[in-house]
């Protein structure tokens, strides 16, 4: 009896977690605010091409001619980055822009594969994929090709032959780290004593953000005071910095691989009475460009925030509308880095994630 | 010795020691081909120890066992099975979520070799032969308890068992199911299987068994042919009193009670474990429930206290109808209950003597009115003194006290609540003689002070000394109420034994 109850509960848990993923994919029916990124010029263009000569001006009338786009993505709850990414997709591929958007969000590769399969069966025109894992996609992409569906990869690469997709719009994680370290070098400090707080070891973001700094440590230009992973955990980052402070070792740079960990590090500095930010003793660097983090920059409490841009939708939309094949299959999304001395409120509004 | 060639199983001079206790001393047991042999004795007489030695659960500390005249060593249940000794326990030890066939072949060496279809066929054949109403493909859990038990027996039969041990097989079966089981047993008997039958139901023994072996306090009392041992004598042998000796005891003085003095009255009270019964007790009266173990005496008093799920009946206290469905209700109406199984239902082993003493009173006072430490200490000290509890200190964990002193602590727990009606179920079990007497005296003193007491003991002598009225139970029914001149052991024995016992004299 008890066994049965337990299994019922397990089943319930499963159902709930499935409902969770299901809920987040409810986005395809919600009307999306198009004000910020909607490009009205293009909308009319689309309406024009689909125009049969009667009511050219009203895009709503052109609903029969909407371009069907299926997006397979990770759920917005994954991270602030993903949340912005999902919102951006929904905003760009809106009905007002001439698209009919279908979405599926999952952290699991097999569920994503199933969703992609579903979109192919439904007969979408374009398939956009940010895969949970790099492997296992050959067959589905071949089927898409046979069905005449064009595939764009965004954010993450997949291990398949280039011929299977039109283009991949991705971030170059290493470039992100390079940009940040270059900025740090440009500060021309007398010496660099760096506390390096890493993200979850082995993740793309961690590898990309660590590489450039490791080169500096190796070349001796910068001193590694400590290099520890806090696995994206703010509280852990605080502990790491505290332990350095308590040991009495001197440092003048904190390089945290995301905003949260930078915040944790700053909490430790604040408690120890160590000044930071513009004009402070310690340079604070973070990544991700959360809105709240950019505001810390604006306040001069931090010095630098790098971004792995989550905004690939517009690039893909442009490619679809132009109908031309890109010069290179791999399109590197432009990365940004913000300096506390030059950041503006407008930057925060445009590029900040969250809220 | 002449019978040796016919005997299937012989156990000679079996000894089993547990730390501090001699569970079996020099016990002999003989089982012949094609007989049903009852193993009888009160609780703690050594029946289950003997069975466990035979089935390899325990190792014997002396003596020898032979099957078919060949000496064997049983070191594990597997050994026992290999020697043709199979056991079917009271609780079904099969897997209810597997099919009947799977249950019959699971865990057997040949089960790998037999294809699924094959052993379903084989199972159906055996079931058919034994007349067991089950299909091999049925899920075992969907069969009645009786059928499940029979499947267990069929499994044993198929394993070529020569000796089949049935440990309390009938305790959860109804009359019809018992009959079917007995038919099966007779069938097996005809095939030459020797059956050892352990039960508390006397009448069943007389219905099915050829011989009876009686154990008492780990010693062999004797082996008897069933037809030569009247029921009342069997009871006497189990309890350890000769009939002549029994008659010489006198009961306590008879007291007279007015009906207006009734403290507690129940009519057709029943619980998940107790069949409906009527019962009343007067203020200041000491009564007893007697009967063999499993007769329903404990279940009945548990129903009074609301210890099991109450199914029906009405209860009046001092003439007022009340509802008692759980222990706290009973406690609030002034009823206390010292449970039969001290370890399981009485002591909170890791807590101190002090905490154990105040527990019931604390519960009655309520969650938000804790008894202060100093108050608790003075209560504990008082009762440690009054009941002469031997403990290193009031902070000693109760688990490290001797059985008798643990029992006194539990008694103190209930006395502290100043009950109007105290139910004591086997308060003297496993306790030294001195403490037994102390507890008996205490019961009589409580009665003098106007407390009603229900006293249960396996020792009838003790009951006669303390109770002015005895309610006798057999097979879960009240079969008699004895008082006054009827309060002597002979009469009690006869009533407990029941059946044709009266004619045997």
């Amino acid at each position: 009896m008890r066994k049965r109850l337990v299994s019922m509960i397990m089943a319930g848990t499963l159902a709930m977690s499935m409902a969770l993923t299901g809920c987040t994919s409810g986005g395809d029916t919600t009307p999306v605010d198009t004000g910020s990124t909607g490009d009205t010029g293009e909308t009319t263009e689309v309406a024009d091409t689909g125009d049969t000569g009667e009511t050219a001006d009203a895009p709503v009338e052109a609903s029969g001619e909407l371009i069907k786009v299926g997006v397979v993505n990770n759920p917005p709850s994954e991270s602030g980055y993903r949340e912005a990414n999902v919102k951006d997709m929904e905003a760009v591929f809106s009905e007002a822009n001439g698209y009919e958007l279908k979405t599926s969000y999952s952290l699991k590769n097999d569920e994503q594969l199933q969703a992609a399969q579903g979109f192919i069966t439904e007969g979408v025109d374009y398939l956009l994929i940010s895969a949970a894992e790099t492997t296992g996609w050959d067959e589905v992409l071949k089927k898409a090709q046979e069905a005449g569906i064009k595939v764009y990869l965004f954010d993450r690469m997949i291990d398949v032959d280039e011929s299977l997709y039109e283009a991949a719009v991705v971030s170059d994680m290493a470039a992100e780290g390079d940009t940040a370290v270059q900025w740090l070098l440009d500060q021309n400090l007398d010496e660099y004593n760096v506390i390096h707080i890493q993200g979850a070891m082995g993740s793309d973001a961690q590898i990309g953000r660590t590489g450039a700094l490791d080169e500096q440590f190796a070349s001796g230009k910068m001193n590694k005071v400590v290099q520890q992973t806090a696995t994206w955990d703010e509280a852990e980052a605080k502990k790491i910095v505290e332990s350095v402070i308590n040991s009495g070792e001197s440092f003048n740079v904190i390089y945290a691989e995301n905003d949260g960990m930078a915040k944790g590090a700053v909490a430790a500095l604040d408690e120890a009475g160590i000044t930071h930010g513009v004009g402070g003793d310690v340079i604070v660097m973070g990544f991700d460009c959360n809105k709240w983090a950019l505001r810390e920059l604006l306040d001069g409490k931090w010095n630098y925030d790098g971004q792995c841009s989550p905004f690939q939708a517009q690039i893909i939309s442009d490619l679809i509308k132009s109908g031309e094949a890109p010069a290179s299959k791999k399109i590197i999304n432009e990365e940004k880095g913000f300096d506390a001395t030059t950041i503006t409120q407008a930057d925060i509004d445009t590029y900040g994630l969250g809220e | 010795m002449q019978e040796q060639e016919h005997s299937l199983l012989e156990m000679r001079h079996i000894n089993k020691l547990f730390p501090g206790v001699k569970a079996l001393s020099d016990v002999d047991f003989t089982l012949r081909k094609g007989e049903v042999h009852a193993l009888m004795g009160e609780n703690g007489a050594g029946k289950s120890t003997l069975i466990k030695v035979l089935t390899g659960v325990y190792q014997n500390d002396g003596g020898e066992i032979s099957v078919d005249g060949v000496k064997i060593n049983i070191r594990s249940p597997q050994d026992a099975q290999n020697n043709g000794i199979s056991t079917v326990y009271q609780e079904i030890t099969l897997c209810p979520n597997l099919t009947v066939a799977e249950n019959m072949f699971i865990g057997r060496e040949d089960s790998f070799l037999v294809a699924h279809k094959n052993y379903e066929k084989r199972a159906d054949k055996i079931l058919g032969e034994l007349g067991i109403p089950a299909r091999s493909t049925q899920i075992l859990g969907s069969c009645s308890l009786a059928v499940q038990q029979m499947v267990a027996i069929a499994r044993a039969v198929d394993m070529k068992c020569k000796v089949l041990i049935l440990d309390e097989p009938t305790s959860s079966l109804d009359d019809k199911e018992v009959k079917v089981l007995f038919d099966l047993m007779r069938d097996l008997k005809g095939r030459g299987v020797g059956i050892i039958f352990v039960t508390h139901f006397l009448e069943q023994v007389y219905e099915i068994c050829d011989r009876i072996t009686v154990l008492r306090n780990g010693e062999l009392v004797g082996e008897y042919l069933t037809e030569e041992l009247p029921q009342v004598q069997l009871v006497a042998k189990m309890i350890g009193k000769d009939l002549d000796e029994l008659s010489s005891f006198e009961g306590v003085e008879e007291k007279h009670f007015d009906d207006s003095d009734i403290f507690y009255e129940a009519s057709s009270l029943s619980s998940s474990d107790a069949l409906p019964f009527d019962f009343a007790i007067h203020k200041g009266e000491v009564n007893g429930f007697t009967g063999l173990l499993g007769s329903g005496r404990s279940e009945s008093v548990r129903a009074i206290f609301g210890a099991d799920k109450i199914n029906g009946g009405t209860v009046k206290i001092k003439g007022e109808p009340v509802k008692i469905t759980k222990p706290i209700d009973a406690m609030k109406h002034g009823i206390g209950y010292l449970a039969e199984d001290r370890k399981r239902d009485g002591i909170i082993a890791d807590l101190s003597v002090r905490e154990n003493i105040i527990l019931a009173l604390q519960v009655m006072k309520g969650f938000f009115r804790p008894i202060s430490r100093s108050e608790a200490e003075s209560f504990a000290d008082e009762y440690i003194k009054v009941l002469n509890i031997k403990t290193a200190s009031r902070e000693t964990p109760i688990g490290s006290l001797s059985g008798g002193n643990q029992q006194k602590v539990i008694l103190a727990r209930w006395l502290l609540t100043h009950p109007d009606y105290l139910i004591l179920d086997e308060p003297t079990r496993g306790i030294d003689v001195g403490t037994k007497l102390e507890i008996q005296k205490l019961v009589l003193k409580l009665a003098e002070d106007g407390v009603s007491v229900t006293f249960i003991s396996s020792e009838i002598e003790e009951m006669l000394r303390t109770c002015s009225r005895l309610i006798v139970m057999r097979d879960r029914h009240v079969v008699g109420e004895l008082k006054g001149a009827d309060l002597n052991q002979t009469q009690v024995m006869k009533t407990i034994a029941g059946g044709e016992a009266a004619n045997e004299e």
């Binding site: 505290e242 944790g264 604040d270 | 209950y337 009655m364 938000f368």
Partner: protein
């Protein structure tokens, strides 16, 4: 005096022997390694307050959430003979609710913080009652019952604020998470003291301790003594709920940020460990809250020691596991009885020698 010392060797602190020995071992180890590990200094923090600083302060400060959770976990363990593995997820929910309430007002005031605290407590108590009902009414093993919230808790937390990391900035929040102006001791440490005192008071003014232990040691006997075991078990989960809310709020306030994915991540295992290191039987029964608190400090002292030794944080968990295995094995009944046997043997031998000497 001598008596006392031998008593300690015989387990004179009783249940607390293991955690106290563990703390002593860590202290001695650090004294040999680097005596300055224990130096406590006074500095001005960035808000201009005079505050205490040093590894010791870091340890007792960082262990605060764990200490609070361990207290509640001790009760649940004692009554239900099992542990709640959803405390981390539940704390994320409580923390999110706290932030949600604060964010829904125009500005953060003392009143809104109190309101947010109460609502967070209520939310956590409801989830505690959910777990408690599964355990006490439906008789599901605690670890399995709480697996549900463990699985979905952080997703629920995400729904509440709908964002990955939401900041809350206010001097009041900062005062809760780090220092109250004028008081040099970190506020979380003070909160632990307050919670511990509240537990002490609850034990003093109710029968919770006695009933919890009775239910945990012998449920059947407790029932026959009129204790409502179901209610007591449920109650322990609700109390743990309050602890979860407090821990979640400390965590949020410490950083001025709610990150539902990382807030008190993996804390449930540490909380169970704290209970175990505290000498409490994970199978329920007698308990000592103080043991669990010390257990929490042992765990963090270990972490901070390893960080001070610059052990890579990826390896910290492995080292922690080794130390904990040693502690738990030392505390196991097998070793304990062996030790007692050894001690009595030694005593006998001593007596023999003394006799011969005479």
């Amino acid at each position: 005096m001598k008596n006392k010392i031998t008593n300690i060797f015989k387990g004179g602190f009783g249940q607390l022997t293991i955690p106290i020995v563990a703390i002593c071992m860590l202290v001695i180890f650090n004294l040999f390694r680097d005596p300055s590990f224990f130096s406590v200094g006074i500095t001005h923090n960035n808000d201009g307050n005079i505050v205490l600083a040093g590894n010791l302060i870091s340890i007792i400060n960082a262990a605060s959430e764990l200490a609070v959770l361990a207290m509640g976990m001790t009760l649940v363990t004692a009554a239900c003979a099992g542990q709640d593995i959803s405390v981390g997820a539940a704390a994320a929910i409580a923390g999110s609710a706290f932030v949600k309430v604060l964010k829904s007002g125009p500005e953060i005031t003392g009143f809104s913080v109190i309101l947010a605290f109460i609502i967070a407590c209520c939310v956590a108590m409801i989830f505690g009652a959910f777990n408690g009902t599964l355990v006490s009414v439906f008789n599901i093993q605690p670890m399995i019952a709480t697996l549900i919230l463990f699985t979905c808790g952080r997703s629920i937390a995400y729904w509440i604020n709908g964002g990955a990391s939401v900041p809350v900035d206010s001097p009041i929040i900062k005062a809760i998470g780090s220092f109250i102006p004028g008081i040099p001791v970190p506020t979380p440490v003070l909160i632990v003291i307050v919670v511990a005192i509240i537990f002490k008071l609850v034990f003093h003014f109710t029968s919770l301790e006695l009933f919890t232990q009775s239910v945990g040691i012998n449920g059947s006997a407790s029932r026959l003594n009129g204790i409502n075991a179901t209610f007591i078990r449920l109650l322990t989960f609700v109390i743990l709920g309050v602890c979860v809310a407090v821990a979640g709020i400390i965590g949020v306030s410490r950083l001025g940020l709610i990150n539902h994915e990382t807030l008190l991540l993996d804390v449930e295992m540490d909380a169970i460990l704290a209970v175990a290191i505290g000498g409490n039987n994970l199978g329920g029964g007698k308990f000592k809250i103080s043991g669990s608190i010390i257990g929490a400090y042992v765990i963090h002292m270990l972490t901070v020691t390893l960080y001070a030794m610059k052990v890579p944080s990826t390896d910290v968990k492995a080292y922690k596991a080794i130390v904990i295995v040693i502690l738990v094995v030392i505390g196991s009944p097998v070793i304990k009885s062996k030790f007692t046997k050894f001690m009595t043997q030694m005593k006998n031998r001593k007596q023999e020698v003394a006799m011969k000497g005479n």
